[in-house]
Symmetry: C2
Subunit: 541 residues, 2 copies
C-alpha cells in the first residue's frame, strides 16, 4: 500500500527552503532596519548597517575567489567584525572557522592547514601570533587585518589588506548564497583535544537554525533583548547566540576583554538583559569592589556552563539581582543542548538544596531529540537512580555533522547511533542528568572509581575554598589517588590539614585527597579548568 | 571540485531526526510531568496524564488497524479530546482530519470520502450531524463518541464506541511512531471553498514543528504561558497552538463555546495570558455587561486575524488591559505566517494612526522564508508604494505540502515557485503587507477596480457603524457597484442617507455604495464574514 499522502505532494521552491539562520538577519534588517543591532564602545550599528556590511563581506569574499565549501578563518575577539563574519562568511557559501585567540602558533598552523584555509581575518592585536602561525603553516591564505577602534595597542607593520577597505570592495546589495542544502556546513570549530590532534567539529545550517531558536525558546528570551558578549564567540560560535539575537531583533553589546568594570558598566548603561559565561565570570563580577558594581534597573539572566555553579556564588548572584540558569553542551552539540530547566516550586527550597538542584546539568533542549546516560558497553540506559555512572549521550538535530577529514573519529563518536560525549554522569529519578566526570578525569584508586567532581563538591562546601580542581595522582599502592589544587577565598585561610579533616568528615576514606596544593589554577580562555595541566603537575610532583 | 565538507559527513541516527512537534509533548511530560497541561471546567490534567492519554489513543488506533497514511477524522469542539487527537492521531502514524462543526452533512460526507477516513471521533453534541453525513458518505469509518463532561445535552442512542473505553484499550507506554520523514503528513484541513469542491490542505510534521515554534518566538510567549481556546482547533489546527503550548510547557484552557462570560471567568480565574480570535471575539468581550467583565491581574496578549481590527475596538481593548497583535495567514500556511510586528515608537502615535498601522497584516513570521506582493502575470514584485495592488504570495517551510488528491489545484497554487494566496494586497514602503481584497471580492465598476476593504474602512470610521461588509452588486450601466451591509453599534442610529453622505465625504464618487442594507451579517464559525452569502443577497435584491 502506498501512502496516499506521499503522492503528488512533493517538495518545491514554494514550500521547501533550506533552514539557515542567515535568513534571521535578512528579516531583522527588513522589519527593524533602524533598531540597534550592535554596540561596541561608543559605536552603534543598526540592523540595516549590520546586514549591509555582512553582505559587503560576502560579496568581497566572492570577488576574491571564495566558493562554496571554502574555509574562511578568523582570529578575532568579541567585536562587530566577528559578528559580521558569522553572517558574511556563510553568505558567500564559505565555512566559518573561528580560532581561539589563546592558542599557540603551532596549533593555529595545524588548524589552518587541516581546514585548508583560503582567507584569514585577524584582529590587529593577534597579527604577531597569526604571522608566527602562518610561518609554520603550509597553506597561504589571503590575510586581512581588522583594526578595532576599541584596541589601543601599537600599530603593526605586517603586510595585510585592511578589513574596512576590503568591505568597500563588496556590494551591500549582494545576492548572497543560500545553502544548497540545509545539511551544508556553516562553521568548523576545533576542539582543544588534550591528546592527539585537534578535531574539526563541522556544524550545518539546519542545526545552527534550530539551536539559535532553541536558545531563545529555552530561555524565554523576549523581543529586543540586550545581550552582553562575555562568552567568546570563537568558542563554539558563541553557542549560536550571534544568530539567536537576529531572530528576536535583539542588541549585541560587544566586549573585547572580560573584566569586571566594563561588564558592570554595560549592564547598567546598555540595559543588558542576558549574558553567558563560566562561573569564573560570575566570580569576577561578584568579587568586584563596590565602586565598580552598579545598580541595575532591569532583571538580568545569566547562563552559565563549564562547571556547576557553587552555592555561595548562586546566593550572591541572586542577591545582586541575577537569575542564573545552568546549561551544558559541547562544541559537537552547537553549544548548550542541555538546560537545568527550573521548577518554580524549587525556588521555595533552602538555598543549599537549590544549589544542589542547580548543580545538575538538566534535560534536553527543545531541538535536541534525545539525551540519556548509557552504559557505553551495552548501549543500555543506566538506572535512573542518581548514582549509577554511565556516559552522557545525545541524538538529534543539534548534533554535529561530524569531524572534518577524520572519518575514524566521526564513526567512533557516533557508534551505536548516539553521539558519545565522553562525559560521565548519572540520571536522576526525575530525568535530570548530572555530570560526574570526563572519562579521562575519573580517578581509579584500588579498583574503585572516584569522581573528581564529587571530591570537588565536598571541598567547595568548605568556606575557605574559592576554586578547587581534583585530578588523579599516581600512588604506589592504589594505582591512583586524588590530588586537590585549591585557590582560597580572599581573607580566608585553611591549610592542608584542615581541608583533609573536612574531607574525612564528608567523604569515604579512599576519596580523601592524598595531597593539597595551594596555587592559582590554570584555565582556558572560556574559563574551563585545564585539568590536563594539573594532571601533569600531579604526575611530576 | 567536490565540497570537502560533504565528504564522510552524512546524516545518521545520532545527528539527524525528523522534525515533529510530537517530541514537544514527550519533553514536556518528561521534564514537567506535574504541570497542568489542560483545564476544562473543573477538570485538570497534568502533562504526564496528557501524554499518557495521547499514547493510549495512538496505541488503541494501532490496535484497531490504523497504519501510516490512514486518515482519522474528528468532529470535536475545543475539548481535551481534541488536544489528545492532535498528538495521539499522528503518534499512530495517521493523519488528523479536523472537521468544522458548523458544516452541513453533505460537505462532511464529501470530506470523509475524499480523505478516505478510517476512524471518526465525534463529540456527542454532533453525533446527529455525523450520522447524517455517514448516511451520505461511501466510506464506513469506525465511529467513536466522545462524551464531554462539559456538555449537558440529552444522551443520544447511536451505536458508537465510547472514547474513554477506547482509550483504556490503548497502552499508556506505547512506543509511538516517529514520522519516517519530516515531510510526512501530520494533518489535513479542508478549505471552505465557496466555489467547487473543498480542497484538502495537507500539512507536514516539519512545517507544524516550525510554525509551532514560530508562534512562541513571534509572540515572545513565555515558559508556562496560559492559553485560552477561543479559536476553534478545527480551524487550521488552531494555528498550531496545540503544539506550541507543549514547547513552552504552557496550560491549555479549553472552552466549548465562545461566550463572554466563560471567557472573562477564564481570564480572571485561570490567569490566562494569551488568546486568539477574530475581531468579533474582542467585540464580544468588550460589549459584555459590566457584571460579566472581570478585573485582571495579568497582562493579556490577544492575537487577532481574519479582518483588520477597527480603531475603536483597539482603543477599548487597550483600555481593558489587552495587548492586541494582528496576524494573518491561511490554512495553506499552517495558520498565521504573517505578523504585524509592532515598533515601540508607534505606541507614541495618535490612536487613529496606531489603528491604521495595526490594520496592516505585516511581515513574514520567522519560519516563513519569503512574503511578497507580486503581479501574478509577470511574477514581479509590485512597487513598494502602498497603493499598487498585486497578489500576496508566500514561499517557505510553513507552506502546505499541497492539496490532497488534487494535483491540478496544487500545481496552480504553486505556479512560478510561489504559493498564490488569492488575496490582493499592497506592499508599503516599510515592507509591511496590507490586504486589499480577495481576488473574488474586488468590485469592478465601469472598468475601475474598487477595493471592498477601502469602502469598509471608510464606513468603519463612522461612529454609528459596528460591523460592515461591502460586496459587488450588479449595475446596469457600470457592470458592478458596491453594496454595503451594516450592523449599527448599540444605542446608535444612522440611515442610508447619512452613511451615503459620509461616504461622499471620504471616498471617490464611484466608490460610494449604491445601496445600504441594515441587517445582521452572516459569519463563519471562525468569525469570518461570509461575503459569498452577501454577494448572493446583493445579486438577488
Amino acid at each position: 500500500m502506498t501512502n496516499p499522502y506521499n503522492t503528488d505532494l512533493d517538495r518545491n521552491p514554494a514550500n521547501h527552503q533550506p533552514l539557515t539562520p542567515l535568513t534571521f538577519l535578512e528579516r531583522a534588517a527588513s522589519v527593524f532596519p533602524d533598531h540597534t543591532a550592535i554596540v561596541h564602545g561608543p559605536l552603534r550599528r543598526s540592523y540595516a548597517e549590520f546586514y549591509a556590511r555582512s553582505r559587503r563581506l560576502a560579496s568581497a569574499l566572492t570577488k576574491n575567489g571564495i566558493r562554496r565549501g571554502d574555509t574562511v578563518s578568523v582570529l578575532l575577539p568579541n567585536t562587530p567584525a566577528m559578528l559580521e563574519c558569522h553572517y558574511g562568511v556563510p553568505m558567500s557559501g564559505a565555512v566559518l572557522h573561528s580560532i581561539n585567540t589563546r592558542l599557540d602558533a603551532a596549533i593555529i598552523a595545524f588548524q589552518l592547514d587541516h581546514a585548508m584555509s583560503k582567507v584569514v581575518i585577524v584582529d590587529r592585536e593577534f597579527m604577531p601570533l597569526m604571522q608566527e602561525a602562518l610561518a609554520l603553516a603550509t597553506v597561504k591564505p589571503v590575510l586581512i587585518q581588522y583594526d578595532d577602534p576599541e584596541y589601543d595597542g601599537a600599530p603593526t607593520d605586517f603586510e595585510a589588506a585592511d578589513y574596512e577597505v576590503f568591505l568597500t570592495r563588496g556590494n551591500p546589495d549582494f545576492a548572497w548564497l543560500m545553502p544548497e542544502d540545509e545539511w551544508d556546513a556553516i562553521s568548523i570549530n576545533y576542539t582543544s583535544g588534550t591528546t592527539g590532534d585537534p578535531k574539526g567539529v563541522v556544524s550545518h545550517h539546519r542545526g545552527a537554525y534550530l539551536l539559535a531558536q532553541g536558545n531563545a525558546l529555552t530561555t524565554s528570551m523576549q523581543k529586543h533583548a540586550v545581550y552582553l558578549w562575555t562568552l567568546p564567540m570563537f568558542h563554539c560560535n558563541g553557542w549560536c547566540f550571534p544568530w539567536t539575537l537576529s531572530a528576536i531583533i535583539g542588541t549585541h553589546v560587544c566586549l573585547r576583554q572580560v573584566r569586571a568594570e566594563p561588564i558592570w558598566n554595560a549592564l547598567a548603561d546598555e540595559g543588558v538583559t542576558h549574558l553567558c559565561g563560566a562561573p569564573i565570570v560570575m566570580s569576577l563580577m561578584i568579587s568586584a569592589p563596590d565602586g565598580i558594581k552598579r545598580d541595575l534597573d532591569q532583571p538580568v539572566q545569566f547562563f552559565t556552563a563549564a562547571a556547576p555553579p557553587p552555592e555561595k556564588l548562586l546566593a550572591d548572584m541572586r542577591q545582586a539581582g541575577f537569575d542564573v540558569t545552568h546549561l551544558y553542551g559541547l562544541t559537537e552539540t552547537y553549544g548548550p543542548a542541555v538546560v537545568n530547566d527550573w521548577h518554580e516550586s524549587w525556588s521555595a527550597l533552602p538555598s543549599d538544596e537549590q544549589a544542589r538542584l542547580k548543580s545538575r546539568q538538566g534535560v534536553r533542549y527543545l531541538p535536541l531529540e534525545q539525551l540519556d546516560v548509557l552504559d557505553p558497553e551495552t548501549m543500555q540506559p543506566v538506572p535512573r537512580d542518581g548514582t549509577t555512572i554511565g556516559e552522557v549521550m545525545f541524538r538529534g538535530n543539534v548534533v554535529m555533522k561530524g569531524y572534518f577529514r577524520n572519518p575514524k573519529a566521526t564513526q567512533e563518536a557516533f557508534a551505536g547511533g548516539w553521539f558519545h560525549s565522553g562525559d560521565l554522569g548519572v540520571m536522576h529519578p526525575d530525568g535530570y542528568v548530572q555530570l560526574k566526570d570526563r572519562s579521562k578525569d575519573i580517578i581509579i584508586s584500588g579498583g574503585e572509581n572516584i569522581s573528581s567532581i564529587e571530591v570537588e563538591e565536598a571541598l567547595y562546601r568548605h568556606p575557605a575554598v574559592a576554586v578547587v580542581a581534583v585530578v588523579a595522582m599516581p600512588h604506589e599502592k592504589w594505582g591512583e589517588t586524588p590530588c586537590a589544587f585549591v585557590e582560597l577565598a580572599p581573607d580566608q585561610t585553611a591549610d592542608a590539614e584542615a581541608l583533609r579533616a573536612w574531607c574525612r568528615e564528608h567523604l569515604a576514606p579512599y576519596k580523601v585527597p592524598g595531597k593539597f596544593v595551594f596555587t592559582p589554577i590554570p584555565r582556558t580562555s572560556t574559563g574551563k579548568i585545564q585539568k590536563f595541566v594539573l594532571r601533569e603537575q600531579a604526575r611530576l610532583s
